[in-house]
Each structure stands twice: as structure tokens, then as C-alpha cells.
Amino acid sequence: VTFLADVVDWFTDGAHWRGPDGIPTLTRNHLQVSFAALAVAAAIAAPIGTVLGHRGRGGVVAINLANLFRAVPTYALLVLAVQLTGISAPSGFGWTGSFQAFLALGALGIPPILANSYLSIREVGPELTDAARGMGMRERDVLWRVELPNAIALQLTGLRTAMVAIVATATLASFTGYPTLALPIARGLAVGDDVRVFAGATLVALLAVAVDGLLAAAGRRVIPKPLRHRPARLARAA
């Protein structure tokens, strides 16, 4: 009980809500690098996956790539990015929060988005695309007006899967030089401060659940109404 009271005290201490190591700044850093990485990963992977899916080619490569990538330790990826880019970030990348963390997180986000994009288009049944072609639609219209609207639920699943991994790995950036919301965990562990570690862990857990919930809610709004009854299954298909 004393422990939980200490945790509450930690949260109500105004000093933990101010300055460069304050909870608001850390949250902003965490979200900034995560969303920057997700946006760039999606901009690269979603179009490629979609076109591959439309052509029905290269899917085996995309899916195997995603599976293989799961075997790469995310922590190694972060340290690798730190080693590759040295200490200073190139100018013009201030919006990423931390260029090194951004590189690692972006790379991490590409395979699940690529695989889910590909699968999302492949899952649209031939009865729909054949009918569209039979009606005289051009290939671009088949893609834009038939395949993509039907595929959007799965496309979003890919984004969510990628974001779960990105937000989780962004916590590790606190251990490799970029202060994210896990900074209290890193600092607390270094000095054996149970309360700080626990408080930081609670914050990170809440953030992860909140971001995932946000993407899920946003996803439901984007899906065309007639298709909303379909559950967004095939999660983590790749």
C-alpha cells in the first residue's frame, strides 16, 4: 500500500510534469517519432503492397520478408541506427524527433504494412473484380473504386500492427539516447527506484493502449459504411 501511495505521489509531483524530462514533453517525443515513422513507412510500403496485390505478383517475397523481419531484434535495429548515423542527425529531419530512432522505427513498420497491403488487395474476391471488368471499368478504376474500398479494413490492420511495434520499440529509444515516455523506466532502473520504474511503465502502457485504440477508432470511421459489418480479421496475417 505504501508503494502505491508513493506511485500516486510521484504522479502528483508537479516537477514530473515540467521541463525537458517532464511527462508532457516525453509523451510528445514518443508520439512525434512514432507517427513520423508510421507515416513514412506507410508512404513507402502501402503503395508498393497495393500495386503488387493488384498485379498478383511478388506477394511471396513481401510476405516472406515480413516473416523474416520478425526475427530481427528491434533493439538491435535501434542500436544499429545509432551506430550508422553517429551522434548528429542530418539537418532537415527535425520533424522526426530523433533521426536515429526514426530510421529504426520506420524500417520496422515497412514489412507489416507491405504484407497487409498486398493481402488486402488479394483478399478482394474475383467475383468483384471480374464484375467490375465486365462492366467495362479500366484497370485504374478497378483498383481505385473496387479493390481499395474493399481492402481498406485490412490496410488499416497493417497500419495498426506496424504502429504497435513502432510505439513499443520507441520505448527502447529511451535506453539509446532519445527521451521517450520510457525515460522514467530507464532512469529508475539505473538507480533501482521501484516507484519511478512502475510509474513510467504505467504511462507507457496507457500510451500504447490509447494509440492503438485511437487508430482502431479512426479506422472504423474510414471504412465505407456498407463494409463496416465485416470484422477486420486476418490481424497479423504476416
Partner: protein
């Protein structure tokens, strides 16, 4: 030798010295540490997947009896999947300390998230007419589960186990924050010391371990489940 040439060519710093990506002399000098960390990596993965299977199996079987329980179990599994391991480790640390059990519990939570879903999906994939046939032949509920449902669900469950194993092998490195980490210890060392060889060694070994474990599980599947070729995930 070819690999060595490639690595040296890719190295922007000294061809083969302490500053390169892979300093070969470091490896024999640290053979004991490499072996110890690799073993720790395998042990952490092994316990976590084992506990995951042992806990997820009864939960999945029980949850299927009632819709509400099932929904609750899936919801819990989804939250577990969303939680970053660093957060789970941080929540467990005040209770369990810088010990192996902290790492195993956190990793088990993660394998559970994957395995519960895989087991439910596997059991769902058994066709209802097969179940009707089993009932008609007079199978008891338990016999039907063990002799009909589980064998038919096994390939999907194995796919889940493969996924859980490969993901866990990558995730073990994170447990360095509670003074565990297997090969992750080398990665932490690389970051702190600005010395790249341990990072390269840990990444390559961890990746190789994941691929080897996956192939081994496929092989086990071929032998243990001869009635159906194991599906790719």
C-alpha cells in the same frame, strides 16, 4: 572467407580492427560469453513459449464454451499484445526484481497474446460436420476434444507456436533492461561502448537462432502431424 570479405568491404572504418563492424579476434576471446548469452537466450525463449502453450491451451478450450468468456479472453490477449515489453517489465520489476523470472513472465505474457488467438482460430477451423460426425459416433466431450478437434487444429496451433517462438527470440534482447537479455547483453554493450562487434554478433546469432527454431518447428510438425502439411503463416 567470402562473408569476411563482404563485411570488411562494407566497413567504412578500419578493415579489420576494433573499429570495424566485425572484429574477428573478438570472437574467440569471448567464446564463453557468447555461449553463455546464447544459452540464456534459448532458455528464456524456451520457458516463455512452454508456459505460453501450457497456459493458453486450457484457456482457449474453456473459453470456447461460452461466448462472453471467449470475448473477454480475446480482449485480454489483444491488450497483452499491444503492451510494450518494456512497460510489462517495468510493472513486474518492483515485485520480481532484476531476475530471470521477471523476464520469463513478461515474455510469457507476449507469447500468450499470440497463442490464445492461434488456438482459438485453430479450434474454430474444425468443420461443424466433423464435430457432428464425432458426436454421432458416440464420442464423449473429452474424447472428441483430444481425438478429433486437437489433431485437426494442430497445424494452425503449430503456426501460432512458430510465430510466438520467432517473435520471442527477437524480444528476449529487450530483457537486458532487467539485467537478463541473452544476446541482448551484447547489444547493450555495443551501445554503451561505441564498439560494434558485439552488436553484429548478437544480431546475426539472434536472427540465425530464430530461423533455426522456425525450421525445427516445421520439421517437428512434419513428423508429428503427418496428416496435414503445416501451413505457412
Amino acid at each position: 572467407v567470402v562473408l569476411r570479405g563482404l563485411v570488411d568491404a562494407a566497413s567504412p572504418v578500419a578493415a579489420n580492427g576494433p573499429g570495424s563492424w566485425l572484429w574477428w579476434e573478438w570472437i574467440p576471446d569471448h567464446a564463453d560469453a557468447i555461449r553463455a548469452n546464447l544459452v540464456e537466450h534459448i532458455v528464456l525463449t524456451g520457458w516463455s513459449v512452454l508456459f505460453g502453450v501450457v497456459i493458453a491451451a486450457p484457456l482457449a478450450v474453456l473459453a470456447r464454451r461460452r461466448r462472453a468468456t471467449r470475448g473477454a479472453l480475446v480482449a485480454v490477449a489483444n491488450v497483452l499484445y499491444t503492451l510494450p515489453s518494456v512497460a510489462v517489465l517495468g510493472i513486474l520489476f518492483p515485485i520480481f526484481g532484476l531476475e530471470r523470472r521477471t523476464a520469463v513472465i513478461a515474455l510469457t505474457a507476449y507469447t500468450l497474446a499470440i497463442l490464445v488467438r492461434a488456438m482459438l482460430d485453430g479450434l474454430d477451423s474444425v468443420a461443424p460436420e466433423v464435430l457432428d460426425a464425432a458426436d454421432g459416433m458416440g464420442y464423449s466431450r473429452g474424447a472428441r476434444l483430444f481425438r478429433v478437434e486437437l489433431p485437426l487444429a494442430a497445424p494452425a496451433i503449430l503456426t501460432g507456436i512458430r510465430q510466438a517462438t520467432v517473435s520471442t527470440i527477437g524480444l528476449v534482447t529487450v530483457t537486458f533492461i532487467v539485467s537478463q537479455g541473452g544476446l541482448g547483453r551484447f547489444i547493450a554493450e555495443s551501445y554503451r561502448r561505441d564498439f560494434r562487434t558485439p552488436l553484429t554478433v548478437a544480431t546475426v546469432l539472434s536472427f540465425a537462432l530464430a530461423v533455426a527454431a522456425d525450421l525445427m518447428l516445421v520439421f517437428v510438425g512434419r513428423i508429428a502431424l503427418p496428416w496435414k502439411r503445416v501451413e505457412r503463416p
